[in-house]
């Protein structure tokens, strides 16, 4: 099969999601930065109290999901740019996706353990 096939009709959703998740991550970075400046990391107890606060937990969760989605689109773009054989690309796509799902689950478990 040497024919070039294009026209998968997706990409807009991922492109848009990458922008939205970037905004979420930037906002979360500012929140954490403000908290650190405000002394939330002065002691281990203060740090723990900050991270286990309901609202912060919600934002941390959003941040991790955003990070993973953002990384999925970005890393997939790298494979699409540089990896030509479809089999290897599919393997790398799957590996990236599974690794990111694993990381997300692990991170969420850590937040809720606090």
């Amino acid at each position: 099969m040497n024919r070039i096939v294009v026209g998968a009709h997706y990409g807009l959703k991922d492109w848009l999601a990458q922008r939205i998740t970037a905004v979420v991550m930037a906002a979360y970075t500012l929140i954490v930065l403000a908290a650190v400046m405000g002394g939330a990391t002065s002691s281990q107890e203060a740090w723990r109290a900050f991270m286990s606060h309901g609202l912060i937990r919600f934002f941390t969760f959003l941040f991790i999901v955003s990070l993973c989605y953002h990384a999925w689109v970005g890393v997939r773009d790298i494979w699409m740019d540089y990896i030509k054989p479809t089999g290897i690309r599919l393997f790398l796509h799957a590996l990236t996706l599974l690794a990111l799902i694993g990381y997300a689950g692990w991170a969420i478990q850590i937040i809720w353990r606090l």
């Binding site: 070039i4 998968a8 997706y10 990409g11 773009d77 740019d81």
Partner: protein, 242 residues
């Protein structure tokens, strides 16, 4: 007479490759004397050609309209007929290479098949199924203004061959020149195939290989902005989807 004219010698390092004779490409060092009447790089190249007629390059209008003499000049794509000779630093050779990423036919001449294939894939013509008017399809002044900065493209391929996304996927990514042309027809109020055009581009390769690197904007000899046009296409897709 010759004594009063300020002559300047230009040194060149030129990519040479003749597939019939050379096993691999090489850089040829050559110099040429130019007088003040030689204003542009192309003028010097025409003199070079007279000195060594085996040197091959495309040229036609010599005034930045036909887009034939696009090449890589000192590492940056541009038109030889628009590059000021006086602006080249003295003491350094002018390095000329073919446009990067496309197959070389000979010396500075590249095979543009892939480039035009992508251009044709966006249907670069007006689609309008209404009966033909007696004279022409008129636009309002405001509607016509939408096409400024889009219709001026001369298809010289400077932008697409400066685009890393086009280097890696020239067979699947439309490239900045093709996408600028695509938006030219998307922005045209007389065109009726907007949705089909957007369908045709909504693809992770055809449109979304653009990572906003903006090399295209940097090199365009006509001062156009393909990145902005690509952004507008994405904006239209968002407007259609949400």
């Amino acid at each position: 007479m010759t004594n009063s004219v300020q002559m300047r010698t230009y040194r060149f390092s030129i990519y040479r490759y003749d597939p019939d004779q050379d096993t691999k490409p090489y850089m040829q060092d050559i110099s040429v004397e130019c007088d003040p009447m030689d204003k542009k790089l192309l003028d010097a190249m025409v003199k070079l050609k007279a000195k060594d007629d085996s040197l091959s390059f495309r040229r036609s209008c010599r005034e930045g309209v036909c887009g034939s003499d696009a090449m890589n000049i000192n590492g940056k794509n541009g038109l030889a007929c628009l590059a000021d000779l006086a602006a080249f630093p003295e003491g350094q050779p002018i390095v000329l290479r073919p446009l990067p990423g496309l197959p070389v036919i000979r010396d500075l001449i590249v095979d543009m098949t892939q480039f035009f294939k992508q251009y044709h894939s966006i249907k670069p013509y007006l689609v309008n199924n209404d009966p033909l008017p007696e004279r022409e399809r008129l636009q309002s002044i405001e509607d016509r203004e939408e096409l400024n900065g889009l219709y001026e493209c001369i298809l010289c391929a400077c932008c697409s061959t400066a685009c890393p996304s086009f280097w890696w996927n020239p067979d699947k990514f439309v490239g900045p020149a093709g996408l600028l042309a695509a938006y030219r027809f998307l922005a045209d109020t007389r065109d009726q195939a907007t949705s089909e055009r957007l369908d045709n581009l909504e693809d992770p390769y055809r449109l979304f290989r653009c990572h906003t690197i903006m090399n295209c904007v940097d090199v365009c000899p006509k001062g156009l902005n393909p990145t902005k046009a690509i952004g507008k296409i994405k904006e239209m897709m968002v407007r259609r989807a949400v």
